[in-house]
Structure formats: structure tokens, C-alpha cells
Symmetry: C2
Subunit: 370 residues, 2 copies
């Protein structure tokens, strides 16, 4: 594609930075400027991301990649934008590369899928250097390797702002189905895999103190900078659902108070796929369950740690429900799984014996609305 | 995902504009601001884009969509960015929606794939209104409908600049393979399906005169604003290759002079997939073959119309090569296909008896380098 030239408004321009303009292609191609050689980016990509994979018939370098997948695929896309989802002031480039992929993988985990591959679209402002890209790719490639995912293709362009968008896919490894949000029944137990509230503390403290915060709040900062998608847990849950009523499952990206109603079918997110009966829940969150940094942060800032945990945000934990008789086996098999409460037919959410339906709205405004 | 709040740097904020924050989900969810209700965007999406499709087991509304595809898939991604790839001054929102999808579909056409579905990531600045989105979706949905493609999911976010990225996929309709760039042999005939140089004229004249240019240069403007991906031709070419040596094929997005060497394996784009022998070509482009608006534009601005056509850009025509004995059948079956010349073993590109190897570099700088 030809890029417009902002400095020469009246002439079309060919902005390829080098002769091998399409060399990061299929379609890791695009228009980038000045301090990049596209050849350099291609070399970087090839050094960090293998081009072959059992799931690929044809890798980077053509108009399309060709996936060899034979069964159903779970597919998801997420944006990861500077000053919307991250700040370069306290995210190192390797953290940005890591997290952009991690939040996408978390959606695969939420379906019990096995991650397989991804497409990467990168809009790069002029401030980005090749050294920055090197670190960015390194962070992303490390996580991709950990999950045996292949970078099948994508696109590069210069851009007014740093813009990252990914599309990821996963399969069901041949024998399991995918898990969905719908299907909770009154009497089902609610469970979580992962930590709640810790990433919220990390965001707050990093915004306030920058990377200096890492010294005193290492776990909270790590939860925000490098969330760990719960892929193994998701796959075990999918297997558990193979010969029984499958668990309902999602990942908690917007905080328990926003996401629990979605699991229960109370909000619009589920309508398109035909779920959405709208049950309630009774949950228990004891202070003893909370991470020490969550408790310390709440004490320091005069906040209620349970409330902060409920509000959360970017936990990237899994939230699910299942028949009560399934829980003991899940508990034994899945590290980090804990029971949160039960699904009720009341339509409201009760935490530690207090009805919480107003909490979401309240804090939504208390913390400002962009 | 929680968005940062630029106005309240020291506090995390929940920026969901409405209670149904995830309602455009799976993952057409995200953080948008002010003049949007997410419910409104969901309603818009559902009005324009059906949620069911034979290729989908599970549509929008969950953490992932689930594709029902059983065979190999061709996958491609492209960025479409304001003031890099388009300007709002002369692109109507429906044209932006149309072209963002069209340039992606063109990559599927280049593989001979049948388009099936796509993911849409949208970064929206505050200047975007719901009316703008309505028109944008309408342009995109019209083209999606034309190719029976389903919008499986995506992501929405507020963003410093208008940012569109898509991932598209297509199948081989059960019996054909996909076509790739490599495989040209000396003696093969080169062919094009579509028009060369017209979109370049459109870009130039729209940059100079804005939408007023549509009056005097309707075809050139249409070629730039609403390129037509050559899906039918790509699929016919894939079928032609089923019982014979398959044609080599790609789409011309950066102009013939940039893309022809890629087809012939001269540049880096092909290295990753193992092609890349590096042949040459002898081509003929007679003035009589050029569109009247290309000739008129060249005459008006004192340019050489053949040279402008070679430079091109955003033609979204198909460029291919095949064994000579395949050409007559292709010619008869595919409207708009014309013969361009032959593949040689010389390593250089000759047009109308002149060697053109320097042309690309020359004009690359003549038109400015961003």
C-alpha cells in the first residue's frame, strides 16, 4: 500500500524505506520511516520469530499465510495502545511486547483453547528505534515460544501513535471443546484461577511512582506489567467439561464487578450469542485471601481492600462456574484455583453478605471517566 | 482491559462509557469515550453485520469466536491508518470502511482464496461520532455482504488517532489449493487482472483537489477510494492450477515496479518462504492499453503515462505468471485479464524495450520519502 506523505500534501509518494519494502511481509510489510531499514526489521523478526510451525503450511513472505489447521479454531483480537493501555514511561519495550500478546492469549485461555499462532499489526511513530523494536520483539517472542505460537504474518506502518493490534488463534488440541461464558445454573459454584486486585494496585502505584514502584511493590507491578495468561488451567477446564456439563468460563479483564455479571448473563456482551438469562451470585472474599501487597496498598491509601479487589481490572485471571460435584477434582488439578461462591437465581450480586449491585456504577465515576 | 485516564494520571480509571461495557464483545469490546454509548455501537454492529454464518460455530459476544472451518485457511492482516493510508478530508466514512476491508480481501484474492470472515480492531479518536461510525460500518458491511464474509469479532478502543486494523481469512472452497508468489519460470507469460496506474492518478488528484476531483476524474478517484478486489479472478486462477502447474500470483499494492520483482523472487519478501530465484521480465505497456484518465492526467501534468503506470500504487490488480499454454483459457474465462509480457532468465526488467531497473529507486526519491 502506498502511504501518504504529510510533508508533501500535493503529491503521492512512495515511502518505502528500503528496496526490500515488502520484506517483512505476508503481510509483515508496510511503510515505516527514517530510522528503520525494513531489511533490519525483517532480520529482527526472523531472528525472534521462527517462520515454520506444525500449524502453518505457508509462513511469512506471501500475500497470506496458510494455516494447516483441520479443526475448529478459537479466534480473538485485542488492541494495545500507548497512553490508553500502557505508558512507555514505566513499561519497558519487552514488557509491551509481552503484554500485548499476553492479553490476547488470555482470551484463548478463557475458551480452554491451545494457543497456535498470531498476526501482528504495528503502527510505529518516529520515536521508535530499532533497539526499541529489538526489545519489543524479544519480549513478545519469549511468550510466543512459551506457548509454541507462530507469528504467521501481520502489517507494519508508520503511525501518529504507537499502536499494536493482534489477532490470535488456538485449537482444541484434537479432542476437547471450547468453553463459553453462558451456561451457569443456580447452585453452580463460582471459581477463580489467578489473582484478583493485584494488577489494579500495580497500575495505581506505577502511575504514581513510575518504575521506582517495582522496589516496594514487586508482585503488584509484575501483575500489571507481565500478566500471566492461565492457559494450562483453561485447557484443564476444557478437558473437565468433555464428559460432563462444561464449566462456564471467561477471563477477568475489566475487574470482577464488571465481568461477573457477564459470566452470569446479566449484560449485553452475551446477547449476540444467545446466552444471557441473568442469574445472581453470592460470593465471599476474605481479607486473608488477598495478596499482602493489596492489603498494604489499601491500608496506605485508606481504601477497603475487598472493594479494591472487586473493582480490580486487568487481572487476567479466569472466572468460571461449574456443577458442585466437579469442583473437588478441579481444585486438586489446577494450581491457583479457589472457590468464590455460588450462582443464585436472585439476579443480584452479594459479597460478604452485602449486596453490591451499585458498586460498579459508583466507582466507575469515582475514578473518573475518560 | 482497563484504560488509562490521561486527565487523572495518578489514578487508575474505569472508562467504560456505559454499563454494558463489553457489549460489543468477543472481543468487540473496549474503551471508548464520551459521544459513544457502547450499547449504541453494539446495536449498530448487529444491524450491519450478521452474527451467524456457516463458517462460525460461535460469533461475537464471548472471549473468542469459534470458526467452524475444517480445511486450511489463508490469513492476512492490514493496517489502514488516517493520514498514512487515507485522509478524512476526501474519504467519506463509508469509503474508509469499504477500503479498509477491500485491501485485506485483495490479499485473499492474491492467494485464490474464498473470503470467509474477519476481525476488526478500531481505535477511535474523540472526533468520531456515532453518525460517522454508522456510515463507516455501512460501507464495510456492504463489501462484507458482497463476499459473504462474517465479522467474527475484534476490539474497540479510544485512540489518539483513527486506526483500523483487520485480519481476514478465507478457505479454498473444499477443492482448490492456494496460489503463492513463487514458481515463475523463464518463458512463462505474465498477466494482470485489473487496472494499472489509475489509483495513482486518483490519489494525486484527490490530494490536490479534494472531492471536487470526482467530477473530472471519476474513474481515477473511484480506483483510489473504492478499489475492487479481484476475488473471482483469483479463485478462477486457483482452479486453473488444480490439474496443472499453478500460476504464480500476488496483488499489486505498491505498484508494478515494486511488485513485479517480488513475483519474480528478486526481493526479500519471498525469502522467508523459501522462494526467490530472481528472474527478469520483458513487458509491454502500450499507451493504447492505458485508461483515458491516466493519459489525460499525464498530458496535463507533463508526465510519461507509461512510467506513471509502472510506478502505480494501490492498484489492487492481480499480477501473475503461468505456462504459455494456460493463457488462452484464462484469457477467455477471466474478464479484465491482459497479457503483460514474459518471464526471462536475465534478472532485469525490460519495458517497451527499455531496461527499467533504475526506475524504482529514482522515483522513490523523486516523490519524497517520509
Amino acid at each position: 500500500m502506498v502511504a501518504l506523505c504529510p510533508d508533501e500534501k500535493n503529491a503521492p509518494c512512495d515511502t518505502r524505506a528500503g528496496k526490500d519494502a515488502d520484506s517483512c511481509s505476508a503481510e509483515l510489510s508496510g511503510n515505516v520511516c527514517e530510522n528503520f531499514s525494513e531489511d533490519g526489521i525483517l532480520a529482527l523478526l526472523d531472528r525472534h520469530f521462527p517462520t515454520t510451525h506444525p500449524a502453518l503450511k505457508l509462513g511469512r513472505g506471501d500475500d497470506c499465510a496458510v494455516l494447516a489447521e483441520k479443526g475448529p479454531l478459537a479466534v480473538s483480537s485485542d488492541l494495545f495502545l500507548e497512553d490508553v493501555h500502557f505508558r512507555r514511561s514505566y513499561f519497558r519495550p519487552e514488557d509491551i511486547g509481552y503484554k500485548a500478546l499476553a492479553v490476547n492469549i488470555s482470551d484463548l485461555a478463557a475458551c480452554g483453547a491451545r494457543p497456535r499462532g498470531f498476526e501482528l499489526c504495528l503502527g510505529l511513530p518516529e520515536s521508535i528505534t530499532i533497539a526499541w523494536l529489538e526489545a519489543f520483539f524479544s519480549g513478545m517472542a519469549g511468550l510466543a515460544r512459551q506457548h509454541a505460537m507462530v507469528l504467521a504474518g501481520g502489517d507494519l506502518s508508520r503511525s501518529p501513535s504507537l499502536h499494536i493490534s493482534l489477532t490470535v488463534w488456538g485449537d482444541s488440541a484434537g479432542h476437547e471443546g471450547f468453553l463459553v461464558r453462558g451456561g451457569s445454573m443456580p447452585g453452580d459454584v463460582l471459581f477463580v484461577v489467578g489473582r484478583l486486585g493485584l494488577a489494579r494496585v500495580g497500575l495505581h502505584i506505577l502511575e504514581e511512582r513510575g518504575r521506582e514502584a517495582l522496589r516496594d511493590w514487586p508482585d503488584a507491578c509484575a501483575a500489571h506489567l507481565r500478566p500471566q495468561p492461565q492457559v494450562d488451567a483453561g485447557r484443564m477446564l476444557a478437558r473437565a467439561g468433555f464428559n460432563a456439563r462444561p464449566p462456564a468460563l471467561m477471563d477477568i479483564s475489566d475487574g470482577l464487578m464488571q465481568d461477573l455479571p457477564r459470566l452470569l448473563g446479566q449484560t449485553g456482551g452475551l446477547r449476540a450469542s444467545g446466552h444471557g438469562v441473568g442469574f445472581g451470585a453470592e460470593i465471599v472474599l476474605a481479607r486473608g485471601q488477598l495478596h499482602p501487597e493489596v492489603l498494604r496498598h489499601a491500608a496506605h491509601y485508606g481504601r477497603d481492600p475487598v472493594r479494591e479487589t472487586l473493582l480490580g481490572g486487568e487481572d487476567y485471571a479466569l472466572l468460571g462456574s461449574c456443577a458442585p460435584d466437579m469442583l473437588p477434582a478441579l481444585n486438586a488439578a489446577i494450581p491457583g484455583l479457589f472457590s468464590l461462591g455460588v450462582v443464585t437465581d436472585s439476579g443480584s450480586i452479594v459479597c460478604n453478605n452485602e449486596t453490591l449491585d451499585g458498586l460498579r456504577g459508583f466507582d466507575h465515576f469515582a475514578f473518573g471517566r475518560c
